[in-house]
């Protein structure tokens, strides 16, 4: 196992395709125990950047240095073909071998343990996202890449899942690269924010970015204000079927 603190480092990374830059000159570092969040408007290259970090492109400009093989990925879009009969437990062991206990534990963490034997096609969008997240964390990765991991999850669930992601990064001491649109929620759980718009617009701690001129230009004054509103915490957490599953302090 590599003990280096930096899991992935992008230096001046970019992709030039069909005579235009999808994204260029991205400098980015993901360290153990830290959450890096990519934000930016549609088409700003968030997913592309994540895929560069994962090594999914053959020819890129710049440089990517990856110090781990133990990677989990939650893609933005996963569609399960109807010809494929896959249950949640089959999906959990897709790229890894897991003990039954570990499967149950991970599903429990994301609040979908009761769906263990369900077919993936019978799940709702939100439930499916929870399963995707459970699969990714079950393997106890060094690096976790989450591309809009809570899309379609209800609001309380969203808050719970983000705090779970935060918890995981501390517990497993893994690095997390997170792509998200839920600026107001995600900012509080993030160590470092990179604001993309074809290139790195601005980056820094959530507070720095929220106050930056570029950020306001991209997302407007309103969203900058929103960021400061969301500062309180709930005193309990619900599972997806509405039961209280955990008290926070």
């Amino acid at each position: 196992m590599n003990t280096s603190d930096t899991l992935v480092r992008l230096s001046k990374a970019g992709i030039y395709k069909d005579k235009k830059w999808l994204v260029r000159d991205v400098d980015l570092e993901i360290n153990r125990g830290k959450i890096v969040t990519l934000i930016g408007p549609n088409g700003s290259g968030k997913t592309t950047t994540a895929k560069i970090a994962l090594g999914l492109y053959k020819s890129i400009s710049g440089n990517v240095e990856r110090n781990t093989q133990n990677i989990s990925y939650v893609p933005q879009k996963v569609s399960i073909d109807w010809t494929l009969p896959v249950r949640v437990i089959d999906f959990m062991v897709l790229t890894q071998n897991l003990k039954q206990d570990d499967i149950s534990e991970a599903l429990d963490l994301t609040g979908v343990k009761h769906l263990k034997r369900s077919n993936l096609r019978d799940l709702s969008g939100g439930e499916f996202q929870r399963v995707l997240l459970a699969r990714a964390i079950a393997k106890k990765p060094d690096l976790l890449v989450l591309d809009e991991p809570v899309q379609g999850v209800d609001f309380t669930g969203e808050v719970a899942l983000y705090s779970l992601i935060k918890e995981i990064s501390e517990k497993l001491n893994c690095g997390i690269l997170l792509i998200s649109h839920d600026l107001h929620v995600v900012m509080s759980a993030t160590d470092y924010v990179v604001c993309l718009n074809g290139h790195v617009c601005c980056c820094g701690t959530p507070k720095d970015v929220a106050q930056s001129k570029h950020y306001k230009e991209l997302f407007g004054e309103k969203s900058a204000e929103l960021l400061s509103i969301y500062e309180h915490n709930h005193d309990h957490v619900h599972s997806s079927d509405g039961n209280i599953i955990k008290e926070i302090k």
Binding site: G55, V78, V86, T95
Partner: protein, 266 residues
Amino acid sequence: MLDDFLVRAIIAGIGIALVTGPLGCFVVWRRLSFFGDTLAHSALLGVLLSISLNINVSLTIFVVSSLVALILLRLEKSTNLAGDSLLGLISHSSLAIGLVILGFLSFIRFDVLGVLFGDILSVNTNDLLFIWIGGGLILAVLFYIWKPLFASTVNYELAEAEGMNPERVNAIFTILLAALIAISIKMIGVLLITGLLIIPTAMARNLSNNPKQMVVLSIIGGLLSVFIGLYASFEINTASGPSIVVVALILFILSLLRIGKKYYEK
């Protein structure tokens, strides 16, 4: 006992059905049925080459089909044609080239129908050896690449990101498909091998809710098709390939009853 052609055919059929089950599942899951068809059509070319050059049939088919598979994978990357057009192009071209060559080989007595639809009478002890050793190898390799292949079937990028090397296992899978075609052409025929790959699997899909179950059921479906099909072929003197595929179709129709029931119960 192996002297009896029916016994030989049944032993050959069992060997083939054991392989078509799991491979067929991946063909269905990955939507490769037309791809399988294309490889099968190129087998006619292989048969004719083996006759003109006087080399082993199965081996020649394997080489020709593998080459066609690799050409296809290569072309898919470097042309702007959609996959199905490309497949149609290769599939019918190879069939046509095969038939044109056949025209030149008029001095050889050659049973075209046998190649197209299979002929149990032609299965000899040598073929049995090819089927069982080849089939065993195919299954061994498939077992070895099962996890990465399945992962890349469910989601290519996820598999690649988590270090499963989908490009390599995909290429290996197409070679396995070519190998299956090589060992089964004599029995099932160029035009119908995809049927044996797909129809029992389609039946299994109707009855299963997880991947392993689907594989097991499609093997069972394939075995039943082979047994009943060969028996019918022997009793009422029909061609072996079509008989096997018709039985598979009947099994599929029966499986629809079950799915209708399930729908009703919901």
